[in-house]
């Protein structure tokens, strides 16, 4: 009985430690640190970054490990670790003329 009981006591502690993640969002000029839940949609983080930096969310791209991040993604689905970085890139366009 006691063997079965001890892991049950440890689980909530482990889950509590890893519930929040520290994520750095950078566009190479500015760096913003966020602390978010693993299950929080990254849309919140994107909106917060764009509001703070005065950018239009439609004109920026968020990338994690070279892959585009969707607003509906969350740290858990992207397998993000504590201290990971989200890159922000301004949209580019070209035609020449």
């Amino acid at each position: 009985m006691s063997d079965n009981g001890s892991p049950n006591h440890q689980k909530p502690e482990d889950a509590g430690q890893s519930e929040h993640l520290n994520i750095k969002v950078t566009d190479n000029n500015n760096e913003v640190f966020f602390k978010i839940k693993r299950t929080t949609q990254l849309k919140k983080l994107m909106d917060a970054f764009c509001d703070r930096q005065g950018k239009n969310i439609a004109s920026v791209r968020f990338l994690f490990d070279g892959q585009r991040v969707q607003p509906t993604d969350n740290p858990e689905t992207l397998d993000m670790q504590d201290g990971d970085t989200l890159e922000v890139h301004q949209e580019q366009i070209g035609g020449g003329c």
Binding site: V32, I36, K37, R52, A58, G66, Q67, G94, G95
Partner: protein, 479 residues
């Protein structure tokens, strides 16, 4: 016996079944009121039910039910039917009867007997018939005319494109966004399989990172910030980089979208001794594009130099690498050498077309003559190439549009409908990621980069992150 259900289908087949029904004794599967006719063709109307696809009908792909409106008592059902199945059948029949005549589809019969198996005799277990793939109604017209908004149109492994950008691709004279270029690059990579032949085609955001790296005056660069680029470039023979003039302006003003696309190809075949970069601009030398292209090539140069075992082991004045940069004068002009006259702003299609042409020429050469003949490949375009190339930007726009729409169709047909994301990225210094030059030199360079990263981690420690708790998201920690 009431009027049997007549399946939808060609007239001759329907007549054949009606004829068969005229001899019910030969077709009776059970001696009671309900009757089952087993057909050897699919039930071809299950997609068009008024209430959406009926999975039970899909499952009975090779059967056609005949209803006689006579309910079977439970004790007279076929032996292979379980009690749950019989109850389910009655429930579905009850639902059917509740429907008004107007709501009933004329071509669909009420739910009949669930024939699950081939075995009709005693002791035969029910064997499931082969289940057809889930079919889905495709909204084909919307593939080429999606709603004009910023929603995702389709996602590729390393890129995605929005509806508004998809609408622009085929417009005469429209400019290309970085997403369009990224999707085009992904398509070229998938179609040519170029990565297996030592060719890396970078995405536009990687090009920007390379420009930042190449422009950086810092001596001790933290390569952790460039691990995607390092992973792509290490052990490659050619690196293709789409360059936009926004990179330098963005660094200076903090906000720029750019106005032109050009291509730079870095030749890393002799990267232990020298590196060559070749610049292809469809407008000659547009603005400060060449300067930015040089910065991108310099970024590749820095990564190669940092990951080279030779430069890691040798110190002093010999620790230098020759770096050549040259603009190709025979690059076709997007206005003069364009079959589709008047398509202003075609640098995007031109650049993608040139990437495809150069990548295919390398891949074909390696496949024809083997990897040892790689030294004979010359990236210099021959005189008169613009004429021979015969580039048609309008056709290129259409080809790109149709290929992206095709990918959308493929993904929409899949039950999941989405490209599966990679759960985690392999360490970029893993030799398994580099199929081209997995030799001892590469192993040594990987070991060097591993040790370097470890040193950087120890020296710099974890980034300073404010530890402030909040329910969902914490904005207090803004630096």
């Amino acid at each position: 016996m009431s009027t049997p259900y007549r399946p939808n289908g060609p007239t001759h087949l329907r007549q054949e079944i009606v004829n068969l029904l005229a001899q019910p004794r030969h077709l009776l599967t059970h001696p009671q009121g309900n009757m089952l006719v087993v057909a050897d063709r699919t039930h071809d109307n299950f997609e068009t039910t008024k209430w959406g696809p009926d999975k039970s009908l899909q499952r009975r792909r090779y059967t056609i039910d005949v209803n006689t409106d006579v309910k079977w008592p439970i004790d007279r059902f076929p032996p292979h039917m379980t009690e749950a199945e019989i109850k389910d059948k009655f429930a579905r029949e009850a639902r059917w009867e509740k429907l008004t005549k107007e709501n009933r589809h004329p071509e669909i019969s009420p739910p009949g007997i669930i024939q699950k198996g081939k075995g009709k005799g005693k002791g035969k277990g029910s064997v499931l018939l082969p289940t057809p793939n889930d079919k889905k109604e495709l909204d084909r017209p919307s593939f080429y005319n999606p709603d004009k908004n910023f929603h995702e149109y389709v996602e590729f492994p390393n890129s995605m494109i929005q509806n508004n950008e998809m609408l622009e691709i085929n417009n005469y004279g429209s400019w290309y966004y970085d997403n369009t270029i990224a999707v085009g690059v992904d398509i070229i990579k998938n179609l040519t399989g170029c990565e297996k032949h030592g060719i890396a085609v970078m995405q536009p955001f990687m090009a920007r990172n390379l420009a930042i790296l190449g422009n950086s005056a810092a001596e001790d660069v933290d390569f952790r910030h460039y691990r995607t680029e390092v992973q792509m470039i290490t052990a490659k023979n050619f690196v293709f980089i789409p360059v936009n003039d926004a990179y330098l302006q963005y660094e200076q003003t903090g906000n720029s979208a750019g106005s032109h696309w050009a291509l730079v190809v870095v030749d890393c075949r002799d990267s232990d001794v020298s590196m060559k970069a070749r610049y292809y601009d469809s407008l000659g030398r547009y603005g400060n594009m060449m300067e930015i292209a040089k910065m991108c090539a310099q970024g590749v140069f820095e990564i190669i130099r940092a990951s080279s075992a030779r430069f890691a082991s040798r110190k002093g004045p010999d620790n230098n690498m020759n770096f050549e940069f040259e603009a190709d004068g025979n690059t076709p002009n997007q206005n003069k050498d364009n079959v589709s006259t008047g398509d202003r702003g075609a640098c995007g299609p031109f650049m993608l077309g040139l990437i495809k042409e150069l990548v295919l020429s390398i891949v074909d050469h390696v496949e024809d003559y083997g990897p040892l003949s790689m030294d004979k490949i010359d990236l210099k375009l021959p005189p008169g190439f613009g004429n021979d190339f015969g580039f048609n930007s309008q056709k290129a726009r259409w080809v790109l549009t149709s290929l992206i729409a095709r990918e959308k169709r493929i993904q929409d047909l899949k039950p999941l409908g989405k490209v599966l994301r990679k759960k985690s990225v392999e360490p970029w210094y893993s030799a398994a990621n580099h199929p081209c030059r997995t030799d001892t030199a590469l192993e040594a360079s990987c070991a060097y980069m591993r040790s370097r990263i470890h040193t950087l981690n120890v020296e710099k420690g974890a980034p300073a992150v404010p530890a402030v708790e909040d329910e969902d998201i914490d904005m207090e920690g803004i630096l």
